[in-house]
């Protein structure tokens, strides 16, 4: 409701209108030449040179041990989305910024390989060449056949809009964590299954070997062991060792700490669930084994142990399991659902997402009135921040020494409450050939910054190195943990010194001639744009304008009691880190002995990016950022009209999809489908109410058509607003439903339930229906039932307004007020459905606030003194409504009705549902015709 209709109203007009409202095209000679580079579907505000893809998408990649980084799938799964974007290349990039510590091997002091429950790492990176920015979420899955038992994967949200990634970082992180958790849960289950089967194999092998050995012993009467016998004995020993190792692995994977998941709403992967499924399979597992079954990991009910060769197959001989095989099918599909959800959620321009967030945050504060016209489902949603906090709280329970260890990292102090973060270079060491191809300077910077990186990775660094080939790491969440030490640095002393941090905390930038990118959300940066501009032509020089006093991050020692202990732990931990090259993938990868993630609230606090929400409440900052001049191509977060317009951004495909919806106005979409728009994304949608959003837009569009087509729209809307049930009567279901959809935006909710709207009824109505529903679509039929229905309509006519869709008549009370005229002006200049929806919402908000005032003014309802007669209270009430609130005629009744709803809502005890109350007036109805 509290959106920004005034802003959005200036957006480009939509193509959804009737032909009536479309202006004739200009003659060729007068028309403005199109943007030269615009091909079909481009918009001039898009980052032209940049993105090669049409809209945001999610990419899942793997660092395959056989072929290196490779893309696995995209969401949406459509070749058009990624366009000419080089997925292989980008996979390489995102896989190369994997900061998670994945390590499995034989730690010293432990006889057996040890699994680490690795925390995901979250990184933001930008690629200047591709014009792509990505939130990258790395995770590790277990695979018995893989090197070191681990398979590194990553999920990336790729967008052309850097601001979107940065500002929605926390939300993205929350959502992707869910997906990742889902995958990992399924993977643990699958891994355990795999291990069990492997153990059976080994057991069987041992038995076979044992009997063979015995046979040889018996057959051998020479008194000394043959080489064969010795070989067999060795083999047996290694099998036994292997059994022990695998048993240990199984124990480890089963002992995974199933912490209470932070998000109560998202439980596709509850351990119980997994167990249930396992139980389901048990009865079938007892079936007689099928012979010849060789696949270990397919979900077949039975399993025959098989002999294991002494020499295992070479890495490259075998086919690696697919992601679906790695995780249980169920969990895989759950994950895909979640990813689709993410894709829907974060579609569209960032300003939409932010506006939505702001309005939702504000709406939550209006607990007394917000139920009236708001989408109830999204009011129930918990904000992500809260979830995060909840997770921190839970994390405290599992805080252990390793957790405290993290607290060693420097602390980010946010000064003056403003969001500042320094720009820090975080170069990523890539393939050697690549580095070679760089200018010497570049590699120099890489090496010189390596140290900084190591020390201050923790500090949630937002760095940028720009070059044709470089990757800008804009921020890592992991960085807060202070554990991001690669094994090669293990010998370095851990620096917890704030001074050291400070000296390097300033902004630093490397600029190459290939591209210039300023990846910053720091407003203070905008103070020196000229310098930067000046540096543009020569670009190659590294230009650190470190200015730590003003610039952003300051590091302070943590005031944490556990610091010293933690330090000890670190060293201990380091000593544990021993890398078995055969087992461990990625030497650069730091190692984590234990899961870190849900844990430390400290970790979260340290983390600048996470800690500071995408500051929706500071529009002025966004303004500053928007004004940042080094991004002439519109990378800024400024509210560009074209980007605000979701319809404009809508691709034709999306449109046709939505037009399939039964309630939609199919004709109105034709023109837009043919339109030349398509930057990248269709409608924005928040928090899983994509459907709701589409509904709103469609409802707004239909409502616009309604008020233009029907001259008696005002009394009809008045009926709805004053709580008189409106029945839309018609033969054609689609038409009736369309009208109901259109009118539904005017229906106040009676409580925290679904809207009191019934789209289609075929049977006769009863009094009870009018209590429940305030807007009903009714079938007109010639059958006896239809006659009954009509009879009921006339019988209950005093409670109803009847809109006859077939004969285009309306029977309802007279309306002479002014509010509805503003709400539904048939000459309105608003053309777009969503804009009109917002317009309606803003007027309804005004009404709500009036109703709120009216309801909660004490003296309007109760006498001031005891002796005051009821009449004077009544007259005072009417005076207030008419003079103070400026309501004319029937508008009074609207506010009175809303006030009653507010009262009922407020009085209502939480436990019991609101009493189904029907209020009505004895007022004459009139018949309106076109």
């Amino acid at each position: 409701m509290i959106s920004a209709p005034d802003v959005v109203a200036f957006t480009r007009e939509e193509e959804l209108e009737d032909d009536l409202y479309r202006e004739p095209p200009l003659p060729e000679e007068y028309s403005v030449p199109l943007f030269p580079f615009a091909g079909q579907g481009a918009n001039p505000w898009a980052k032209v040179a940049g993105s090669k893809f049409t809209r945001d998408f999610i990419l899942i990649s793997e660092f395959s041990e056989q072929v290196g980084p490779q893309p696995l799938l995209t969401i949406p799964d459509d070749a058009k989305v990624s366009g000419t974007f080089d997925l292989n290349y980008f996979s390489l990039r995102i896989m190369s910024v994997d900061y998670q510590a994945s390590f499995v091997g034989h730690p010293p002091g432990s006889a057996y390989p040890k699994l680490n429950f690795v925390e995901d790492s979250k990184v933001v990176l930008g690629d200047s060449k591709e014009g792509a920015f990505a939130y990258v979420h790395h995770l590790t899955l277990y695979d018995l056949e893989a090197r070191g038992f681990v398979r590194p994967f990553c999920m990336a949200y790729i967008s052309a809009d850097e601001h979107k990634i940065m500002q929605q970082f926390q939300e993205l992180s929350t959502e992707f964590s869910k997906a990742s958790e889902c995958l990992k849960t399924g993977n643990r289950k699958a891994f355990a299954n795999e291990l069990e089967k492997k153990l059976k194999d080994l057991d069987y092998t041992r038995t076979v070997l044992h009997s063979e050995t015995e046979q040889q012993k018996k057959a051998n009467d020479k008194g000394y062991y043959t080489t064969q016998a010795i070989e067999k004995a060795n083999e047996l020993a290694s099998v036994e060792k292997s059994i022990i190792e695998h048993q240990d692995l199984l124990r480890q994977i089963r002992s995974y700490p199933y912490r209470k998941l932070k998000d109560s709403e998202f439980h596709p992967y509850e351990p119980e669930c997994a167990l249930d499924r396992a139980d389901d399979q048990d009865p079938t597992a007892s079936n007689p084994a099928e012979p010849g079954e060789t696949h270990l990991y397919t979900h077949v009910p039975s399993y025959t142990p098989k002999l294991i060769k002494a020499k295992s197959a070479k890495c490259f001989d075998k086919k690696l399991k697919t992601l679906e095989e790695l995780c249980d099918v169920y969990f895989f599909s759950q994950t895909l659902d979640q990813l689709h959800h993410i894709e829907r959620t974060f579609r569209g321009d960032v300003c939409y997402l932010l506006t939505e967030q702001i309005s939702r945050a504000l709406l939550k504060q209006q607990s007394v009135t917000n139920f009236l016209f708001e989408d109830v489902s999204f009011l129930d949603e918990k904000p992500p921040e809260k979830q995060y906090r909840g997770c921190q709280g839970l994390g405290q329970d599992v805080v252990d020494e390793k957790c405290l260890e993290e607290s060693l990292g420097p602390k980010v102090v946010i000064s003056l409450g403003s969001y500042k973060s320094s720009v820090e270079c975080v170069p990523i060491k890539m393939e050697q050939e690549m580095e070679d191809s760089e200018e010497p300077k570049m590699s120099e910077s890489v090496t010189s910054e390596q140290q900084e990186n190591l020390d201050y990775l923790d500090a949630d660094i937002k760095g940028s190195i720009s070059s044709g080939e470089s990757i800008e790491v804009l921020g890592t969440e992991k960085s807060g943990s202070g554990l991001t030490k690669s094994e090669s640095q293990a010998s370095l002393p851990v620096s917890a010194s704030p001074q050291a941090g400070r000296s390097k905390a300033g902004s630093r930038r490397t600029v190459s001639e290939d591209s210039i990118e300023v990846l910053s959300t720091c407003p203070s940066e905008s103070l020196i744009p000229e310098d930067f501009k000046a540096s543009y032509p020569s670009a190659i020089n590294e230009e650190p304008y470190a200015d730590d006093d003003e610039g952003g991050l300051r590091f302070a020692p943590r005031l944490n009691p556990g610091v010293h202990d933690g330090q000890d732990d670190v060293s201990k931990q380091e000593s544990l880190v021993q890398v078995d090259a055969a087992c461990c993938i990625g030497k650069e990868s730091p190692s984590f002995p234990e899961p870190l993630g849900e844990l430390g609230q400290k970790a979260c606090e340290e983390d600048g990016v996470v800690r500071i929400p995408p500051q929706p409440y500071r529009p002025q900052e966004q303004g500053l950022r928007g004004g940042f001049p080094s991004q002439p191509d519109g990378l800024s977060g400024g509210l560009l009209p074209c980007e605000l317009d979701p319809r404009y951004l809508t691709g034709g495909r999306e449109v046709s999809k939505s037009s399939l919806d039964e309630c939609s106005d199919s004709t109105s979409y034709i023109s837009s489908a043919a339109s030349t728009c398509s930057d990248r994304t269709p409608s924005p949608a928040r928090g899983g109410c994509a459907a709701g959003d589409r509904h709103r837009k469609r409802a707004g569009q239909n409502a616009l058509r309604f008020i233009r087509q029907y001259p008696f729209a005002h009394p009809a809307i008045y009926s709805l607003l004053s709580g008189r049930t409106l029945v839309v009567l018609g033969e054609d279901e689609a038409m009736v439903k369309k009208l109901v959809t259109a009118l539904s935006i005017f229906v106040p909710n009676c409580g925290a339930y679904a809207k009191p709207v019934k789209h289609w009824v075929t049977s006769a109505l009863h009094l009870v229906d009018f209590q429940k529903w305030k807007l009903i679509g009714l079938q007109r039929a010639v059958s006896p039932a239809g006659v009954n229905a009509l009879h009921a309509l006339s019988r209950y006519s005093r409670y109803l307004s009847v809109l006859d869709a077939d004969s285009k008549t309306l029977r309802c009370p007279l309306y002479k007020g002014t509010v509805v005229a503003r709400l539904a002006d048939h000459r309105t200049q608003i053309k777009r459905g969503s804009t009109y929806y917002m317009h309606v919402q803003s007027i309804l908000t005004q009404l709500c606030s009036k109703a709120f005032l009216f309801t909660f003014c004490h003296h309007l309802h109760l006498p001031i003194s005891e002796r005051e007669p009821e009449e004077s209270v009544v007259s005072r009430r009417m005076n207030f409504l008419k003079l103070q609130l400026g309501l004319a005629n029937e508008d009074v009744k609207i506010v009175q009705y809303l006030a009653e709803l507010l009262k009922l809502h407020y009085i209502q005890e939480p436990g019991q549902g609101g009493s189904p109350l029907l209020r009505f007036d004895y007022v004459p109805s009139f018949l309106y015709k076109i």
Binding site: L767, R795, T855, H858, K903, I907, S915, R919, Y922
Partner: protein, 442 residues
């Protein structure tokens, strides 16, 4: 072409602008009884008794025990000073049992199942602290459900109505007969009573369908063929009688086809109610106001409803409420006609009759009387449409509103919207104060 008076959608005098639908029954709801100021019970063909809060519409209690439909229900509140006040209700059912319930706890106090036939009516004689059940015989019970005395088997039809008369007498309607019984305290014990049949009155031509006591001196009966007889309550003699409600032949404006379809049902006296001056009779589709002093019908609405009127009640403010099989409830006001109407009332409508057949002199005398006395008429001031089937009964709760029950299994509580709104405001500010949110106020 309906001769039923209708009222438009504009009903200024109709205070009922809010309604609550009370759901619970699974069959026709036939009875509503008031228990105290804010509670009432409902019962019907599903054999369940519900207790409701008349203010909030909250369902207080559900009483299960009967296996068949309920045939009679009576509240029985103890007025004894010595005992603590308990509200009981007595219900009789077609399963030939009578159950006494405690309304506060919802507990079944006692059950009697020694009846030979269905108990069709129940009357509480508060004064004597006994209650009577009428079926094929008449039984007298005390509070503890001890059978004090009973009559012998009376008629096959059984007693359909009972009314208390002065001097420890009761009048029972059994078929066409009206039987007067007297309760006599026995000499041997304080609790002992015996019952004695005193008189048989056989003046009605057809089954007596309604029986109501007007005051200590008078009671009135109505029969299935439209006879209305006013009786002296002390010596049980007939004071007056009216018996041609149904005689449409004298109605000049009645169409022949209506006459053809005339059935005894349409002239049956369905229900009687009275205040000090008048008896209000629901006869067929019409409502008739019979003045006891003038001994004639002073106002009528011959087709007050589309279908039979099942229940009428007089409100204190000269208003009358009627409910009907057509599913509507109508509110009437008895108004005095300011001047004589231009066209004279067809005098043939409601003649006064003496005993027996029509008498021309009496007719003329009645005419004269009409001309000399003020004219009344029933003005429709509002109607309540909500039920989808016959409205069996209603209960007027004064300020709290009106409860109606119907064959559509529903009970509707009709309320004054203005009053409810201000009550809600009151509750709202109370709750605000409780929650400490009062700073919201100013």
């Amino acid at each position: 072409k309906s001769s039923v008076q209708t009222i438009g959608e504009e009903q200024i005098q109709n205070p009922y602008t809010e309604l609550l639908v009370l759901k619970g029954h699974q069959d026709i709801v036939r009875f509503l009884v008031q228990i105290d100021d804010c509670r009432f019970a409902s019962a019907g063909d599903d054999g369940i008794i519900f207790l409701w809060n008349a203010q909030t519409g909250e369902k207080l209690c559900e009483l299960h025990g009967h296996t068949h439909k309920i045939t009679a229900i009576a509240p029985f509140s103890s007025s004894d000073v010595t005992e603590e006040k308990t509200d009981l209700i007595i219900t009789a059912s077609a399963d030939r049992t009578v159950i006494v319930w405690d309304c506060t706890s919802g507990r079944r106090v006692q059950k009697v199942s020694c009846f030979h036939s269905t108990v069709k009516c129940l009357t509480v004689l508060q004064r004597l602290n006994v209650w009577l059940s009428g079926g094929s015989d008449l039984c007298v019970w005390n509070r503890k459900l001890d059978l004090l005395c009973k009559t012998s088997h009376l008629t096959d039809a059984g007693i359909s109505a009972l009314v208390e008369l002065p001097k420890n007498c009761v009048a029972a309607a059994a078929g066409k007969e009206l039987i007067i019984f007297r309760l006599i305290a026995s000499n041997n014990g304080s609790e002992g009573w015996s019952i004695l049949e005193v008189k048989h009155l056989v003046d009605h031509q057809d089954n007596i369908s309604s029986l109501v006591s007007v005051n200590d001196l008078t009671f009135v009966t109505g029969s299935h063929v439209g006879e209305l007889i006013v009786w002296d309550a002390l010596d049980w003699t007939k004071q007056a009688s009216e018996c041609n409600f149904w005689d449409s032949s004298v109605h000049p404006d009645v169409q022949p086809e209506i006459k053809l379809c005339q059935s005894p049902h349409e002239t049956s006296v369905q229900h009687l109610t009275s205040d000090e001056e008048c008896v209000f009779a629901a006869v067929g589709k019409g409502i008739y106001v019979y003045n006891l002093q003038m001994k004639r019908v002073i106002a009528c609405q011959r087709t007050a409803h589309d279908s039979s009127v099942l229940h009428i009640e007089k409100l204190p403010n000269r208003q009358l409420i009627s409910c009907s099989e057509d599913g509507s409830v109508r509110i009437w006001e008895l108004r005095e006609r300011q001047q004589l109407p231009a066209e004279p009332i067809p005098t043939g409508f409601f003649n006064m009759w003496g005993f027996g057949r029509a008498n021309k002199q009496a007719n003329q005398a009645a005419k004269k009387m009409q001309e000399n006395t003020p004219m009344y008429f029933l003005e429709l001031v509002g109607d309540l449409i909500g039920h989808s089937s016959a409205v069996q009964m209603f209960l007027y709760f004064g300020e709290l509103g009106l409860a109606t029950c119907s064959a559509d299994h529903l009970i509707i509580l009709w309320k004054d919207g203005e009053r409810e709104s201000s009550l809600r405001s009151l509750t709202l500010f109370k709750k605000l104060a409780q929650n400490g949110d009062m700073q919201l106020k100013l």
